[in-house]
């Protein structure tokens, strides 16, 4: 992909403090191709903010990205920053429209790396059908950051048939997952310093808005809740839902899709895949009457090939998530305490 956007010729190879000063160097950086790369009418106005017209119910979301390393198998922090906010809007039942894009760059970052991130942002925006309409760049001293931090905020128009809310979650609803768990988290871990292991596991980060739109158009308000189980994994999100709805959730371990390599890596690292971060999947809580059809449709979409019904909402054990293990046992799936730490043996 990068080949289509060769890095412009610039007379600097790395980002320095001056590039965040707001002066000549900042202008030079932006003029080097940033504006051209993300070009659209609203951005081209180059004002302090963007003027936009939106009609109807609007969703607004923000997310910051501090991932390390910034390049990981199959993607990088730039694509993640776009997909992350796009997906948050999609989980609101919204069609993502506009993004803001803020960089905090660490002095010494190579222009080549910055450019690669920018190009990924461009393609991710095109794929998700969103525009970057406003942005900011700051530079911090070496050692005060970690190459690149990105914040994106996004605005989207809520689909008229969407009615996504915790209030709509009822006992007997079905819990659907769109794809394999733990893929992104394990892909990142495989390239972390000190933890590297040989694998071809790739991050599954992707925009989910198109799939969500298809599902909402077909199933409307039978889709009660959508969530993307990013940090804290499926376990954290389900615990939040159980806590906030005062309902219980039964999870069926044998239905939870996971890539064999990812499962193996979790075994070796001593991690529970339910607590590992995801980027390219989402959870749906839907009316149980349409659950089978919902999964069937989801499976026809590229984002949902491995979709499964993995659980149901119940009146029993309020505020608790209980996993029925593959061998027929039961256990409580608690909220993760902090980051999962690899076990000794």
């Amino acid at each position: 992909m990068q080949l289509q956007c060769p890095m412009p010729k610039v007379d600097f190879e790395m980002i320095t403090l001056g590039h965040g000063s707001g002066g000549l160097l900042t202008n030079k950086l932006l003029a080097s191709g940033v504006f051209d790369l993300l070009k659209n009418d609203l951005l081209d106005e180059r004002h302090d903010g963007a003027f936009i017209n939106l009609q109807g119910k609007t969703a607004f979301s923000t997310d910051s990205f501090v991932i390390s390393p910034i390049f990981f198998p199959n993607s990088n922090i730039g694509e993640l920053a776009v997909n992350g906010t796009v997906n948050d809007l999609a989980m609101c039942g919204a069609i993502p429209r506009y993004l803001s894009l803020s960089f905090i760059l660490e002095e010494g970052l190579s222009m080549q790396e910055f450019w690669e991130v920018l190009v990924s942002i461009k393609f991710a925006c095109e794929k998700a059908g969103v525009c970057v309409v406003t942005g900011d760049t700051k530079v911090v001293e070496k050692g005060k950051g970690d190459k690149i931090f990105i914040n994106t905020s996004g605005i989207g128009t809520v689909h008229p048939q969407a009615n996504i809310s915790l209030k709509n979650v009822n006992a007997e609803d079905s819990l659907v997952i769109s794809g394999n768990v733990a893929t992104h988290g394990i892909a990142i871990m495989s390239v972390r310093e000190g933890l590297q292991f040989d694998t071809d596991i790739q991050s599954d980060t992707q925009a989910l808005n198109s799939a969500v739109l298809t599902l909402i158009e077909k199933f409307g308000n039978d889709v009660h809740l959508l969530k993307d189980p990013t940090r804290g994994g499926v376990a954290a999100v389900l615990n939040e839902i159980a806590r906030d709805t005062h309902l219980g959730i039964d999870l069926f371990q044998k239905n939870i899709p996971i890539d064999e390599q990812v499962e193996g890596a979790c075994e070796i690292l001593g991690l529970d895949p339910l607590y590992v971060a995801n980027e390219g999947i989402f959870l749906s809580i839907v009316n149980s009457e349409i659950a089978e059809d919902y999964v069937q449709l989801l499976r026809t979409l590229p984002e949902g090939k491995n979709a499964q019904i993995i659980g149901k909402i119940v009146d029993a054990h309020p505020k608790q998530v209980i996993l029925q293990s593959s061998i027929g046992g039961k256990r409580v799936v608690n909220m993760p305490v902090g980051e999962q730490l690899p076990r000794i043996c």
């Binding site: 001593g270 293990s325 593959s326 046992g329 039961k330 409580v332 608690n334 902090g338 690899p342 000794i344």
Partner: protein, 364 residues
């Protein structure tokens, strides 16, 4: 997954559970020694599937849980005051010392790193000749070979900036300590499969004989565990007390001679303090004098005051299997994984954390 899925087969688990229920004519109390087994029992919900008269007791086999408080304080001190790069296995980081955990030391600026292998720490020492690298070498016999090998590698490379802070513990003396406690109710043991993979099973014959107790070397998957429990109960019902190997696909009777050789080259047996239990004679490894240059205890001769454990914490009784975690007055109240009073609540292998995270009892 080959060698895993077969041992997770629900039908086979149910068959063994039925067999256990059929042969168990009275109440039996069995200790699984290893934290990994505890973790698997609760993670798979097996405890709820066993008949009521079969009681599993979680043993002291969680290395993180038994690492003495003052040693964690020492690791924190080295990281904070001596400017070393302190490397450790992941779950050691959250264990609270008397003032703070390594994770908190890291947050306040100390260079603390999570590694999967001590050999990575040796690499780090090579790459950072101006820095001292200390590896926090905790664990049972399972982690000892890699830790020993790291010292051999460092010596071979002529590295002067690598050392290990050793708190190695050994399983057989811990089993004896459990049995020597008058309050013990343990009637049979599931011995730790991974430890036996290294050390073999010879050590267990005299223990089994001395205490007249069945000892089954057992693996970690659901089928392993129910089979191990079945084998233990079969012996108990028949009045036998023998050593059997359920984990034969991995454990050879002689263990792994190469790994044992590496251990013997680098370490010698010493008395060792176990957190919550006290000093157990001949229950640990320390570096041999010829490797003193790699001993962080000698290299950084700092005196760390011993600190009293929280009086409310009954970790010692839990580790010896005399009390269940939920029998502690502070379980799930003052003591939770976010604010643990004792180490068994910290590590995911610790008996208290295992119960807290996975058991129904914790929240009811």
């Amino acid at each position: 997954m080959k060698y895993l899925s077969e041992y997770r087969n629900p039908e086979v688990v149910v068959q063994y559970l039925d067999k256990i229920a059929k042969i168990a004519t009275q109440k039996w109390t069995i200790m699984e020694v290893c934290g990994g087994q505890t973790h698997s029992l609760v993670k798979n919900g097996l405890l709820n599937l066993l008949p009521e008269n079969v009681q599993m007791v979680h043993g002291p086999g969680c290395p993180v849980c038994v690492t003495p408080l003052h040693l964690i304080d020492k690791a924190v001190y080295l990281a904070e005051e001596k400017g070393v790069i302190l490397c450790s296995f992941g779950d050691m980081l959250r264990v609270p010392g008397s003032k703070k955990s390594l994770l908190e030391a890291k947050a306040s600026g100390a260079d603390v790193r999570i590694l999967y292998s001590p050999l990575e720490a040796v690499k780090l020492a090579k790459e950072n000749p101006q820095k001292e690298i200390v590896f926090f070498a905790v664990g049972f016999e399972t982690t000892a070979p890699a830790n020993a090998l790291s010292v051999i590698h460092a010596q071979r490379e002529g590295l002067k900036n690598y050392s290990i802070l050793t708190s190695h513990v050994l399983v057989p003396p811990a089993i004896e300590a459990v049995m020597n406690d008058d309050a013990t109710a343990i009637q049979g043991f599931l011995a730790a499969g991974h430890v036996c993979t290294i050390m073999g099973i010879d050590d267990y014959y005299p223990i089994s004989k001395k205490y007249h107790i069945p000892m089954i070397v057992t693996g970690f998957e659901p089928v392993d565990l129910v089979q191990g429990i079945y084998m233990t109960i079969r012996q108990l019902e028949e009045g036998k007390a023998e050593v059997e190997n359920q984990y034969g696909r991995v454990v050879k009777p002689e263990g792994n001679p190469e790994a044992r050789k590496v251990i013997e080259t680098v370490f010698k047996i010493c008395d060792r303090e176990w957190r919550g239990i006290g000093v157990i004679p001949n229950s640990g490894y320390e570096l041999r004098p010829e490797f003193a240059d790699f001993d962080a205890n000698i290299k950084f001769d700092v005196k760390i005051d011993k600190v009293e454990e929280s009086k409310e914490c009954i970790a010692g009784l839990v580790l010896k299997g005399i009390k269940k975690p939920y029998e502690c007055s502070q379980f799930g109240k003052k003591c939770t994984p976010t604010s643990p009073l004792g180490a068994p609540m910290v590590s995911s292998e610790g008996a208290c954390a295992a119960y807290y995270h996975f058991s129904q009892i914790a929240n009811n």
